[in-house]
């Protein structure tokens, strides 16, 4: 078990051996978080999947070419160049299939992914037999081999990651319009094809430098998980990009540090798991779109709806009892309330329990119900809002009077005070005045 000072040394990048690794996965995470966000918004997350699998034949072929020219065959830039070329070929195949056949995106991606990977496996196996050259390290591109990183590798990764991040921030506005409405972008004269190619180019660059660090399967997670997690926290693009870059960076930093502290934990896998934990936290707790806050909001709205339904039903019953005269707060039977809406007795009893707690009901003998004074006032207000809304729908939206009750029922619960005032201003004279009678005594003037 590593002790405390070791942990700090690694986390704060003071350990020379792990500094390069941790820094490069952090940079990679930031770049992937930025680029992946656009991919997610363009609904092409799995493009990274197909792309990263399609890089394998390039690695094997680049190795074979280098060996046949008498080289050692292990130069990282050359291998990554091969990976880039076959990745681009994969994307081109995908786009060709999509544009010249009726097959859909998913088929095109699955085709490229599996066939290219098959070719890659076959050619890896072939080059392993080359006498005098050891291809043993090539398979590490599938799972990643973070520990075997030297200073020149780090420079390459840092340079590409930095350039990709910078470009995605520079083209922020262009990518924004491309992701949200490519048709509009094209009609406004934006070069959408060029932008699409630029975006895919950035994705390719990030994927290829990720091959060395986390391997071709787990680099997919780097492109997908941080942006999806960030999406739960905000509805705006720039904050989403920053959060996504942050989540990607933190996953890279924490994951690589953890794997450096415990032998036998492959960095790629730990990084992916850290990102997955951050995703789960975002999925459940993010205030903007998280599952838990949304669930609570919905529950609150449902309670509000129940309360308003109950109050209006009660008011209408009392109103019927008054049969045209002035409406006074009288008691009424439970069955009358039950018949008002399609609620089950069980549901209604639950609603009534809440109403008692909120002091909208007075204590009454069983079977009878009676609104309390504040409950009656509230009921009158709710009913009035409902009728305002109905009148508005009939006058301005041409809704048939026989349908208006249901339509108003669907929208009235989200009426704010602002909207009610607007409705009142519009409908002056359309409803009998329900306002409070004038005060019979003069008010003392505030200046006195």
């Amino acid at each position: 078990m590593p002790d405390f000072s070791d942990i700090f040394e690694v986390l704060l990048l003071q350990n020379y051996n792990t500094r390069l690794v941790v820094l490069s996965t952090t940079l990679l995470g930031i770049a992937a978080g930025l680029v992946g966000s656009f991919l997610l918004l363009r609904k092409r997350s799995l493009m990274g999947d197909a792309l990263s699998h399609a890089t394998l034949p390039g690695i094997a072929i680049a190795f074979a070419v280098m060996v046949s020219f008498g080289g050692e065959g292990k130069s990282l830039p050359a291998l990554l160049l091969g990976a880039t070329i076959s990745g681009v070929a994969g994307i081109a195949t995908m786009l060709l299939i999509r544009n010249t056949t009726k097959l859909r995106d998913d088929v095109a991606m699955g085709f490229v992914l599996s066939v290219f990977f098959g070719v890659g496996v076959a050619s890896l196996r072939m080059v392993q037999d080359i006498p005098g050259a050891s291809a043993a390290g090539l398979e590490s591109f599938i799972y990643g081999k973070t520990a075997a990183m030297v200073a020149s590798d780090f420079l390459l990764i840092a340079l590409v990651a930095g350039a990709a991040s910078l470009l995605s921030l520079l083209f922020l506005k262009e990518f924004l319009i491309l992701c949200f409405d490519d048709g509009y972008a094209a009609s406004q004269g934006w070069p959408t094809l060029f932008l699409d190619i630029l975006l895919l180019g950035l994705v390719t660059a990030v994927t290829v430098i990720g091959l060395q660090a986390v391997g071709l399967i787990l680099v997919i997670a780097f492109l997908i998980t941080p942006p999806t997690a960030a999406r739960f926290w905000t509805q705006r693009l720039l904050p989403m990009l920053l959060i996504s870059a942050f989540i990607g960076g933190v996953s890279g930093w924490l994951g690589a540090s953890l794997s450096a502290l415990t032998p036998q934990l492959p960095a790629g896998a730990v990084i992916v798991l850290v990102a997955a934990v951050l995703f789960l936290v975002s999925l459940f707790f993010a205030p903007e779109r998280g599952v838990l806050p949304r669930f609570l909001n919905q529950a609150a709205l449902r309670r509000k709806e129940d309360r308003q339904h109950f109050l209006r039903a009660a008011y209408e019953i009392v109103e019927e009892q008054a049969s045209g005269g002035s409406v006074a707060n009288r008691s009424f039977p439970f069955e009358a309330l039950l018949a008002k809406r399609s609620w089950s007795p069980h549901q209604l009893r639950r609603i009534l329990r809440v109403a008692r707690r909120e002091d909208h009901l007075e204590p009454t003998p069983p079977g009878r119900l009676r609104l309390s004074e504040p409950g009656f006032g509230e009921a009158a207000r709710v009913t009035r809002n409902h009728r305002l809304w109905e009148t508005y729908l009939i006058q301005y939206a041409d809704v048939a009077p026989s349908h208006v009750d249901r339509d108003a029922d669907m929208v009235e619960h989200i009426l704010g005070a602002e909207l009610v005032r607007e409705l009142e201003a519009k409908l002056v004279g359309a409803l009998p005045d329900l306002s409070v009678p004038p005060s019979p005594h003069p008010f003392p003037s505030p200046s006195a």
Binding site: D49, M109, L113, G118, V121
Partner: protein
């Protein structure tokens, strides 16, 4: 080239595998869920690892169960994240399968000292070794992989014949299927189970990513040739078998051209199915690129009014 009974068995295993995959694959392609095969085949890794760590053996049955459960969980988690998080299907799938794959990788690495479960083997299989592991049936030595894949093929055929019209209906119009009382949800998970089981059976011999080639590419080829379900199933079966045969032949012949010894049959089967797809893409009588060119050359579209006005 000397062809031995060894090679025959490899082709038989490959063909059975490809056939077993092509049948559920057709429905995956029709439901626009091709990438689900990808996700499931990556995500079976932790299932295998846990089954191995729990039982301590490489016996088939626990491994099979573990992988099938992991596959089904992938489908389930993807569905949940999609529904509860309002996440795009592709992204949900990507998160689930990369996470599960990472878990599997960790488990295997942790146990690597006393385990000989090679993640490489999971990814690209060892079809060359299948004829060595035989089971004697009625005095005949049959490779275990052939029996397993044959069994899965029969199971797939059975489910398909029994639920043919239900699957067809729910693939083309899930809402109608629901209103008629055939739960499209149930059929979805049934299909996912089939895919998971088929993937598990197949990847032992061909590896988890080549499985995707077998699941998707023959049905995609068939879809380029026909628009009817039954011909599509038959054509994709034919393409699957053809790919297995030519793939193994290619694995023996092609490396010689480049001066290499040999290569994996599974990779070459994927390549062969890709080439068959390419042929269909170019020469399909109804939708092929060549045929469309010809049709355009033979009868040029009449000039429409707007065009004559602008010229």
């Amino acid at each position: 080239m000397n062809w031995t009974s060894f090679d025959t068995w490899i082709v038989v295993v490959g063909a059975l595998c490809a056939l077993a995959c092509a049948l559920p694959g057709c429905f995956l392609v029709l439901r626009k869920m091709s990438m689900m095969g990808d996700a499931i085949s990556h995500a079976v890794l932790p299932g295998l690892a846990i089954a191995f760590l729990v039982t301590g053996t490489r016996a088939s049955v626990p491994m099979f169960l573990g992988a099938a459960i992991a596959g089904l969980l992938t489908a389930l988690f993807t569905q949940w994240i999609m529904r509860f998080g309002n996440v795009d299907r592709g992204a949900a799938m990507g998160i689930v399968f990369t996470t599960l794959f990472a878990v599997g990788l960790l488990l295997i690495r942790r146990a690597a000292d006393h385990v000989d479960l090679d993640p490489g083997c999971v990814l690209y299989g060892a079809i060359e070794l299948t004829p060595l592991d035989t089971v004697s049936v009625g005095g005949l030595d049959i490779p275990r992989a052939a029996l397993v894949n044959g069994g899965v093929l029969l199971a797939n055929l059975l489910v398909l014949t029994l639920l043919y019209k239900e699957l067809k209906l729910s693939s083309f119009d899930p809402d109608l299927a629901d209103t008629l009382g055939y739960s499209s949800q149930f059929l979805h998970y049934l299909l996912m189970t089939l895919v998971a089981v088929t993937t598990v059976a197949a990847f032992e011999s061909v590896g988890s990513i080549i499985v995707i080639a077998m699941l998707i590419v023959p049905p995609a080829t068939a879809l380029l040739l026909t628009h009817r379900l039954l011909p599509m199933l038959l054509l994709s079966a034919a393409a699957a078998v053809l790919a297995a045969v030519t793939g193994h032949l290619g694995a023996i012949v092609v490396p010689r051209w480049f001066g290499f010894e040999s290569t994996t049959s599974s990779g070459m089967i994927a390549l062969a199915s890709g080439l068959i797809f390419l042929l269909a893409w170019l020469f399909s009588p109804s939708q092929g690129i060549v045929a469309r060119r010809f049709r355009r050359a033979l009868d040029p579209p009449p000039l429409s009014n707007t065009e004559t006005e602008t010229t």
